[in-house]
């Protein structure tokens, strides 16, 4: 398994601003994933981030709103841009084990937009 940390753990932001969330893994991984968990709901995949290439976004998510960086094999960032109250969610990063298929999750970043 992998140990994953995220910064910040929580934040309260004003609408129209942007927040960058960092995800750090204790080992080198090929694929990292970003999820959103809206209040009281399940997890939805935002995008998959491979090192050295553009992130792949799921339907309903666009790069202008959620730009992602993946500068190396242990680190990624997700930016939530031009925030609105509807962006209030928990944002989680995860890494995958190709052999077994499961993913390991960071503790999440709880974002509140006012």
């Amino acid at each position: 398994s992998a140990v994953i940390s995220q910064k910040p753990s929580r934040d309260i932001c004003q609408r129209g601003t942007s927040l960058t969330i960092q995800c750090q893994v204790d080992s080198q991984v090929t694929m990292m994933f970003w999820y959103r968990q809206q209040p009281g709901q399940s997890l939805t995949l935002i995008a998959t981030a491979n090192q050295g290439s553009e992130a792949t976004y799921e339907s309903g998510f666009v790069i202008d709103k959620f730009p992602i960086s993946r500068p190396n094999l242990t680190f990624s960032t997700l930016t939530v841009s031009n925030m609105s109250p509807e962006d209030s969610s928990i944002y989680l990063c995860s890494v995958g084990d190709h052999r077994a298929g499961e993913q390991y999750f960071g503790p999440g970043t709880r974002l509140t937009v006012t």
């Binding site: 939805t44 995949l45 792949t56 190709h98 298929g101 503790p107």
Partner: protein, 116 residues
């Protein structure tokens, strides 16, 4: 397409009684299935996984799940609930898109409440 349906959004049990959290899946391929648990204000933790080996899978904290292909089910059970089991549980199916890697599809979750 891959999907999972968690049949109960809330389950309430008394401490010491059995737990049953139900999950049905739909998959075009032989699926890999997981149960994750999310305690309040904490991250997701993998409870157990099925990856086409034994159909009865044992996980952490006394939980187990049985893969039944004929019923397309992967229900989570525990013989005796403990107060610390109170959490949100997610049934998850994994699949491999054409571009490679593995993607997870989450169920809507079941909130388990354990009462004294």
């Amino acid at each position: 397409a891959q999907s999972v349906t968690q049949l109960d959004s809330h389950v309430s049990v008394s401490e010491g009684t059995p737990v049953l959290l139900r999950c049905n899946y739909s998959s075009s391929y032989s699926p890999s299935l997981f149960w994750y648990v999310q305690h309040p204000n904490k991250g997701l933790q993998l409870l157990l996984k099925y990856t086409s080996a034994a159909t009865l899978v044992k996980g952490i904290n006394g939980f187990e799940a049985e893969f039944k292909k004929s019923e397309t089910s992967f229900h989570l059970t525990k013989p005796s609930a403990h107060m610390s089991d109170a959490a949100e549980y997610f049934c998850v199916v994994t699949w491999a898109p054409p571009g490679g890697g593995n993607k997870l599809t989450f169920g809507t979750g079941t909130q388990l409440k354990v009462e004294l």
